[in-house]
């Protein structure tokens, strides 16, 4: 389907949205679910553009409304999120938003609220937004994004049109990096692999070398822990000085690592994420086998969920390392 949505990947979701616009049947609330850094907010912003664009075909990406939305500067688009990743979205923020939404749009056709990482919203905040979902007023559209759907009230789910978004394919990530960010093909391909289809991370690491370094350190730490005793593991964790959001990032990388180990252990031909660690991945896969790799993958996922809740980062990491298989 022909579309001008400035979104990379997520073709089916974009197509569905485009159809809704073509038929003039756009819902007033959306929930975009999926892992971090795959373009949920970009998708949300593009919906806001399509709603407020003053040209054809919408979104044109050129008019004042599209440009202001792209630079987070449009007076009718509110972005609401916890003060930091791993923080809490508070009820006061929802109240303030509702005050804004009560007003007619300032210069656009619609007021659009993008509520990011809504899994971090307090129960009270979630309850408060229900009111807006239940009694939609004129020109207001709500777009929620979330990484962990289980932390969201079922009543919110039922009142939103839901899009379950997945990481992009390696090819489309590579293509996008090459086409839109001018990255050389080879480098783009490596980054696309390392990002595991999380385009947002790939772009961040283009802009900031430290991202790549951080990933490298995260993977090394993991490999080191597999060769360490219990006490040494505690020391490794003690040596870390990470806030919650960084710990979550690190676990994301560990998850990709165990996924690779699993793939190798079962002899799958699927593409590895951590292609720069292929040699050590093969060794680990030979040692631990499929079952242990799967357990480690599940433990990492559990830790991610616990940590998105209220768990203590250090305790979580210690427990996780103890649950990982040992190589010696």
């Amino acid at each position: 389907m022909y579309t001008t949505f400035p979104v990379i990947g997520h073709d089916w979701a974009v197509a569905q949205m485009q159809r809704a616009f073509n038929n003039g049947r756009v819902r007033h609330a959306f929930l975009l679910q999926g892992p971090a850094s795959i373009g949920k907010t970009t998708f949300a912003r593009s919906i806001a553009m399509a709603l407020n664009c003053t040209n054809e075909p919408k979104p044109c990406g050129e008019c004042r409304a599209c440009r202001l939305i792209a630079s987070n500067g449009h007076p009718d688009i509110a972005i609401v999120e916890a003060e930091r990743i791993g923080g809490t979205l508070k009820i006061n923020q929802i109240r303030e938003l509702q005050r804004q939404l009560a007003l007619r749009p300032y210069e656009g056709r619609y007021r659009v609220a993008i509520l990011r990482r809504f899994q971090e919203a307090q129960a009270a905040a979630q309850n408060a937004i229900l009111k807006t979902l239940e009694e939609p007023v004129g020109n207001v559209v709500l777009i929620l994004t979330a990484e962990e759907p289980s932390a969201i009230l079922p009543t919110i789910h039922s009142r939103c049109q839901i899009f379950n978004l997945r990481p992009l394919s390696i090819t489309s990530t590579t293509d996008a990096l090459e086409r839109s960010w001018g990255v050389e093909r080879d480098k783009a391909s490596v980054l696309a692999h390392l990002s595991a289809g999380r385009i947002g991370w790939a772009v961040r690491s283009l802009e900031d070398e430290k991202e790549l370094e951080f990933r490298q350190n995260a993977i090394s730490l993991l490999e080191q822990s597999l060769n360490s005793t219990r006490v040494q593991c505690f020391q490794l964790v003690d040596g870390l000085n990470l806030d919650k959001s960084r710990t979550l990032d690190m676990l994301d990388f560990w998850q990709t690592y165990w996924r690779d180990v699993m793939l190798l252990a079962v002899g799958s031909k699927a593409a590895l994420t951590n292609i720069d660690h292929e040699a050590s991945l093969i060794t680990v896969a030979q040692h631990v086998g499929q079952d242990d790799a799967q357990r480690a993958l599940e433990a990492t996922r559990t830790a991610l969920i616990q940590l998105s809740g209220n768990a203590n980062s250090r305790l979580c990491l210690e427990v996780l390392m103890l649950n990982y298989p040992k190589l010696n």
């Binding site: 129960a123 309850n127 229900l130 009230l153 079922p154 009543t155």
Partner: protein, 389 residues
């Protein structure tokens, strides 16, 4: 200032009252509570029954398994509260500083009374034994925390199949030593989760907690870690609170069979709401917060609450709010074991009338007062909603 605090507890209170009315029960294993076939629980059990392992709050069906000869006595609430009042009168006669904790339990601040604390405790116990023919146990210490634990310990020492009628004194200065060997679960504030975590850390006794670095406990448990460190050393500055104003009014029901029928759940919510509303109106109270409690079939329990600008005691308001809260937590299929409604956040019963209050709600208030009158005179079951029949 050195304080002397008593914790007084009536031994197997409901059973003791039942024995007064029916002396044949003396020495028999019996329990007060609901029927085993209808998922009743043990409200109180006699000391002979306890020898079989029967405990309060245990499902009656389980109690009967443990003790097949168990005699089950129906709960007679009015008798218990009348007797409780007489006990409290004796306590107030002893000192004005009485903090009633429940129907059968109270703290007394006996600081500055002439005589040894032990002798004072014996005197009080004797009075209750003789005037009311009720057994009771006392814990005596320099604060509420230790007095309560001492009472538990004193009673636990007497496993004879007879009411313990115990007195346990912890002399001032020995609190920490007294607590040190006890398991951590005895300490107020240590729930199953905290206990599990502490066991993982190698902490088994209250003394182990006292020996930890305060900082470590705070790091691991936050504010409660700080509190526990103080308590573990026998420190507790809480005063005996004389008036214990009602903080909330609530009503709950445990279903005979776990329920997931929407209509039945709504009906129960309405009944609990009406019950709470009526009690509020009777006490001249209005609350700003409505709370619901839901226990799922797997026994996990959740509560949800909602707070409003204006206090109210209107049944309809309580029900609508409770229903709204409930609909936010219930997926429409999960089975429910218990459902309850409560109102708290009381304010002066002065009520600011609202502009938008429709004639409907005025009418509602009038109807409500009439219904309350009828129920008051003819009992709870005298009126039912058409939808309940």
């Amino acid at each position: 200032m050195q304080r002397t605090i008593f914790h007084l507890d009536l031994d197997a209170f409901y059973c003791a009252v039942e024995e007064l009315h029916n002396p044949d029960l003396r020495g028999q294993p019996f329990a007060v509570g609901g029927s085993p076939t209808r998922r009743g629980v043990v409200a109180s059990c006699s000391y002979p029954a306890r020898m079989f392992g029967v405990r309060s709050a245990m499902p009656m069906s389980r109690a009967v398994q443990l003790c097949p000869d168990l005699i089950i006595v129906r709960h007679s609430h009015d008798e218990y509260s009348a007797m409780s009042k007489r006990v409290m009168t004796i306590l107030h006669d002893t000192t004005p500083f009485v903090e009633k904790l429940s129907i059968d339990e109270a703290f007394l601040d006996m600081s500055g009374f002439p005589g040894e604390p032990y002798d004072l405790a014996v005197g009080l116990q004797k009075r209750i034994n003789e005037e009311l023919e009720l057994p009771c146990s006392l814990g005596v210490a320099s604060n509420k925390l230790v007095a309560k634990i001492a009472n538990n310990m004193g009673k636990a020492r007497q496993r004879t199949g007879q009411p313990p009628n115990a007195i346990e004194v912890v002399p001032p200065g020995t609190e920490a030593n007294y607590l040190a060997p006890l398991p951590i679960r005895e300490l107020w504030g240590v729930g199953p989760k905290t206990a599990e975590k502490m066991h993982e850390m190698g902490i088994q006794t209250i003394g182990d907690i006292a020996a930890q670095k305060e900082k470590l406990l705070i790091d691991q448990f936050g504010k409660i870690g700080y509190d526990l460190h103080l308590r573990a050393r026998g420190i507790d500055a809480r005063p005996v609170v004389i008036e214990r104003p009602t903080k909330s009014v609530s009503s709950e029901i445990t279903f005979d069979v776990d329920v997931n029928d929407s209509d039945e759940l709504k009906r129960s919510l309405r009944q609990q709401s009406e019950n709470v509303g009526r009690r509020l109106r009777k006490s001249g109270l209005s609350g700003r917060t409505v709370q619901i409690k839901v226990r799922w079939e797997d026994f996990t329990t959740i509560t949800r609450q909602s707070t409003f600008e204006q206090p109210s005691h209107n049944d309809h308001w309580i029900y609508e709010t409770a229903l709204d809260l409930f609909q936010h937590v219930w997926d429409g299929t999960r089975r429910i074991r218990l459902i309850g409604v409560g109102v708290s956040g009381f304010e002066n019963a002065a009520r600011q009338l609202s502009l938008w209050e429709s004639d409907d709600s005025k009418q509602q208030r009038h109807v409500q007062n009439t219904l309350d009158d009828i129920r008051e005179r003819f009992g709870d079951d005298s009126l039912q909603r058409g939808s309940d029949l």
